[in-house]
């Protein structure tokens, strides 16, 4: 059975740390970092990268489009 695996890349300088992407992530992959960017915002990062399915839910709700999503099919 084909399984998908995904990954997100966060533009840390664009991210404003609004956390809107966190509740829409069905796998709870995203968390906010302790570090801040140049504007002083905590930015999103992948806390559990192995669980990401590349569903693009986080990217479509991101007001600043700081996320880009990648997805590959892997055979289990």
């Amino acid at each position: 059975m084909a399984k998908v695996q995904g990954a997100i890349v966060v533009d840390t300088e664009t991210c404003k740390g609004c956390e809107v992407c966190m509740p829409v992530c069905l796998e709870n992959v995203i968390k906010m970092s302790k570090e801040v960017n140049r504007k002083g915002y905590h930015y999103a990062y992948m806390d559990k990268p192995e669980a990401c399915t590349g569903c693009t839910n986080c990217a479509i709700v991101c007001p600043d489009r700081a996320l880009s999503v990648y997805r590959v099919k892997v055979s289990a």
């Binding site: 995904g6 404003k16 509740p23 479509i60 489009r65 880009s68 990648y70």
Partner: protein
Amino acid sequence: MEVLDIIKPENQVFCKTKLMTDCPLSYCPGCGHGTAHNLTMEVIDEMGISEDTIGVAPVGCSVLAYDFMNIDMTQAAHGRAPAVATAIARTWPEKYVFTYQGDGDLAAIGTAETIHACNRGENIVIIFVNNGIYGMTGGQMAPTTLEGMKSSTSPYGRDIETMGAPLKITELIANLPGVNFVSRQSVHTHKHARKAKKAIRKAFENIKMKKGLSFVEIVSNCNSGWKMTPLESNIWMEKNMFPYFPLGDIKVDGKLK
């Protein structure tokens, strides 16, 4: 598979559209304006009409939309965006003309322009972002502010007896014969954002078929104006805004639902 093996250009499934400039958005963190901007530009990009689209920016938080949207834009006096869009659409009937307005712009100062442009059935799209407050000027009460909602000019909450009931401008204009498509959407979750994108796409396709005016309302949060965090404001919006401003299509192909 390692994360670095996944992050390759051929595996990319989502990135920011080229029709948004690299200029950082001036909106507060978590504001629905950014999502609404991006969804609009993604629709224009997918339809391949960026060369033929002209946008009209309003006065309000989204006054700088012309800096963010990488298409031909102009900016109108407060509330007069539908009148400016009318002129552009009549001069260039083959162009796709849209206005992007907030609730203070469209439902207060520009009520006359909005209602008459809708009544004439101009071949334009109006994207209306309703957050129930004047965001840019400091959170004053807008026509769409809910009953009992506190704002800087209604510190004890909106009182219906003295200030009137919140204005349902979308239902009001849905009754006008020139309007072809009216829909109310939201962008705070992935499901709502995808539905909103479909509604915006249908609106722009109506221009192509010269069906008349299309109106898409997006119920949004204003976390700074409401004095909440973005997540709290989204929950508050679901609990309080959606019962008064129910989501869904209100008029499709000229027929009320």
